[in-house]
Symmetry: D2
Subunit: 353 residues, 4 copies
């Protein structure tokens, strides 16, 4: 079985493993104030082109989201997100468990627009009984989205302008940020992202690390006391160095983007192979997740050799499936998949979506 | 600087690192249902002498405590703990952040007694307005305690009997459980512990792993849906295998106890060295943490070469300090410390505690 | 200005005020264990035809909803509700503030169906990663709904059957329960309601009392320790007698239904007056809230003399408005309104909804 | 049985009842923005000598405490309070249920000092691992305390100075504030209190109203969005007028102080009667609660005719008991009690406290 079901089926990039082994006996302080964390912070500040940002390392995405969001909102405030956002659907109510409602906006491709945020904001404040309604307190987006799509520079700029107008901090979940930056359709840089939001995180777990997410606070007002929050929400590792070593390795000489580019290239080969056979896609993704729509016959055939995710039923005969690539995806395994796709029957027509 | 300040100053035991490197490219499912986790679970079930226990892997101690405790209590219930308990003093209010009060019992050595629990229980239920008071809902203890002391078999048995009488689940925080089991004064086994509580955890972070704690649910009634809770509280690693590999290594052939015994032996050498010079101790510890009371002159002298924790001021001239050993403590570094201690002036008399 | 904007524009029914004045100097115990509360409980048990139910008095609807719901759910569970449900839209995130997500189902008229609950339930448990998703833990409905519509006997029976099959406690928000029971279209009784759910409340605030809601626990499993929860959530009045006196008065000789019938009769007169002129309605309500759709010219004309709620814009020229009646609605004021409606221009055609 | 067990055994002062009856049919807006609430707010602003304060009406004390405190703290912060404080012991963990730890300070008489707050503050910030400890975020005191004692002007001034130095908002629980102001030992005024804290509440429930507490925000920074919080925590009454009418009546022409003075005078008569017989007191109270220490024989004798609270066992033969007076306490009933006390045997000697 060749696994394309997710971008976390292996351990970590070998350079990370080597560094962890090489430094294993070095003695350091605990809780993320060691030299590795410090150097990793510095590399990330440089990569963001902003020496003033605060950088913290947490363990996983759900933990990062709940810690950041609950550190920003007051009790009566909620976080605006796409109805498909990870916090809204795949975190077992972690945000609500910290006391906050998620104010969902409709979205098919995983993105939300400045206009939608503006409308929700107006709707709230124009309501005569707005004190009976959860107040919008911040905005959450994912880059790339859970559907593999990405915000363009113009879209992000428009969104952030509205957020700033209404004093709604913008938080970007970058669990797969590298894959957005590596997309051929991307027109954003890490520096620009750090200018177009208040706080974001650079995902490690899904981009080559064993685990770990680097939170970057840009907005000074939100920085205060965040280490308390990390500790309270269970995200402060005693051996914090483990996170530092990984992000140091990912950012000291470009490994993060190298890994991301590799994964995206392989994903696009899979995309192109499906497209060549006439298959269509559930989302227009140019990142490391691809969502071809296949008949159930094709699905069963692919399943005999590959593991992938069943994404959603499209009609009685067809489903969207998800193929993921990562730092660890082997070119020859993609070769094999691409060859097998080339043997598939052209997709039967969909009963109109 | 030789570090004795904590038991998490290095990475992980080399056998763990080797296994992680060796398995790095193996593809597995995510979220803790991979083969490594399964094997680790089986080893732990066997070590506990109970095939029916549920075993889950979380990342750190605070996370484990808040996840377990909030999974057990109803909203109006609190958890009974020593006033010195980790949850009461060193977790930034993580338990309260899940909505629950900690009902603290006085303790000097870190332990609580069956009689104290009985008294608090009676006090609550005899109060005419008990509905205005947080209801005791479970009991938390640490083995060993934060002060290095351990519960004897008789003490634990007595405590658990009271807990069972009053339907108060007993939870043991075993962040350093190995060091209790390795103590020369210990008369408990892992099997017996698994019979004398409802849920406990076997600490990895402080006993040779990079990070990770293995929660063991003994009481059937408390097992339900715990994986949801792990996810909600941010403890479910995408690459859950990392925890499985570590616990598999620690439990497949006795490494956990081997590591623990080494640390305790070295700690007792330090203890004996201080005692030989006439120093007294803040707590009567036979585990990997030692708390000698030293004059501030001695303290300053030791500081030039060793790092350790300043525990608490005892009087104007003296403080208790903490030396920690671990799997990584090197015998020759302890030799050096022991020699240096032997040169210290006998402790000046304390202004009576 | 004649107010039809809500059912809480006046104080309490005069018989309640009289009783409160008459008993003002009687000395009682506090916190709801006085003789008035006891008698009120007994009247309600009798009205429900079930001597085994537990009855508690709380102050308001949001408080009651958050106290009941948070007493039932475990942390990883959410409450299923219509997207229009009061808890979902008009309680400033009170449910989320207790840690729980609201799992909303689409609804136009305010009701949800057994089939919808069944589907959401299946969707959850069929998801391979259901532990990453908030688990459905109970069902919330309102009778009548926020839109004035009511569940029929058959609908409620079907819903409760599904709930029982899946161990999902069913909770009915009866903020305006009397108005449902007084509807000419109603085929349920209080006794039958007490058989077709696990817990519900009989609203006082909007049905003749100064304030107060009577929670009725039918399901034994949910009864435990609810007084602790009332206290913790701020709902336990020191002078609990105030609630007891009111519910005693409402239930000792039929005042609750008398008041409800009066309000519904007056509401139906308003409905009929609008209908006679050809106006249509946003919802098909037979209870004390009526939602005619009027042109903005009509709206402005009515506004000069009456206060009512602007419910929602229907198209550029039309809006739905809400007229509420209550125990205090005066017949001659409705006469006046009815006469004025009869003078209105027949409604201009809607741009197709 | 003559009841002295609490200050909430009757309804409300007759002038309040009369006003409620007289205004019962007046139609108003809901949710506390009616004319009665507005006038009550204005009277309170005037009484506080500060036109800029924000005044809100809530229903009860626990609700007020949890709403105010959770509106001020960030998640990692706790509230400093006396170990005997109402929030620490008699609110079923309501504060913790909003996510916050109570940082208790030892206190025998119910008061805390500026020095204690200073010490706790220093202890926190001097701790090298302070991020692992709940951060002190505000200070809670009660005036009078739960033990009937009061802060002097000098004590409050000193406390507030420390609070301001460390940016710790000071919140005063004034559930019985009138009784402090009416004490012969009091040297504070409402105006001065409004200068020496950031937010406080003027209790109605225990001082003549049916229920209701008036929260006064002095500090501008804390005022924002408090109505959202009231709604979310269940404290916003639909018929908010009920609270407005009561506070209007209490503050329009001095009723609040009139009622308070009556209660304190009667309490002091009881105190003097016990003192005259040689009884001692558990606390040195000059307010409406008195805590004589009596032998169990005396206790049993008193019990045959009067109800009062059993406060705490003092030794095997003696207990402290509590007598409460209120607006409703009848002079002739106190006459009777005073006469009966005069017949009691002088108190037997206590086994040394």
């Amino acid at each position: 079985m060749i696994r394309f079901e997710s971008d976390y089926t292996e351990g970590a990039h070998e350079r990370i493993m080597n560094k962890m082994v090489a430094t294993n006996r070095v003695q350091t302080s605990g809780y993320g104030v060691d030299e590795y964390c410090e150097r990793a912070r510095q590399y990330i500040r440089t990569a963001c082109g902003n020496e003033a940002v605060d950088v913290h390392f947490l363990v996983g995405g759900t933990q990062t989201n709940m810690t950041v969001i609950s550190s920003i909102l007051r009790p009566h405030q909620g976080v605006i997100a796409a109805v498909t956002g990870h916090i809204a659907v795949h975190e077992t109510g972690a945000i609500e468990a910290t006391g906050h409602k998620i104010l969902t906006l409709p979205s098919d491709d995983g993105k939300i627009t400045a206009a939608q945020v503006q409308q929700l904001y107006e709707q709230h404040w124009n309501d005569a009984t707005h004190e009976h309604i959860t107040q919008p307190g911040m905005v959450y987006i994912s880059q790339p989205t859970e559907n593999g799509t990405i915000y363009s520079h113009a879209e992000l700029e428009a969104l952030y302008e509205i957020c700033q107008q209404h004093d709604l901090p913008l938080y970007i979940d970058g669990a797969r940020l590298g894959y957005a930056l590596a997309s051929p359709e991307n027109d954003l840089t890490l520096e620009r992202i750090a200018e177009l939001c208040d706080v974001f995180y650079i995902g490690g777990t899904k981009v080559g690390a064993l685990m770990g997410e680097a939170v970057v606070f840009v907005n000074d007002r939100l920085k205060k006391d965040f280490r308390y929050l990390i500790k309270q929400r269970g995200g402060m590792l005693a051996k914090g160095r483990i996170l530092g070593i990984q992000f140091e390795t990912l950012f000291e000489d470009g490994l993060y983007m190298e890994v991301s580019q590799h994964a995206v290239q392989q994903a696009l080969r899979i995309r192109d192979a499906f497209a060549a056979q006439g298959f269509t896609f559930r989302y227009d993704s140019s990142t490391n997740q691809q969502f071809p729509i296949v008949s159930h016959e094709v699905l069963d055939k692919l399943r005999t050799k590959y593991s992938f995710s069943l994404w959603e039923k499209v009609d009685e005969q067809h489903s969207a499936i998800r193929f993921c690539t990562s730092w660890a995806t082997q070119v020859q395994q993609v070769d094999e998949l691409v060859n097998d796709i080339a043997q598939l029957e052209p997709v039967s027509s969909l009963t109109g979506r």
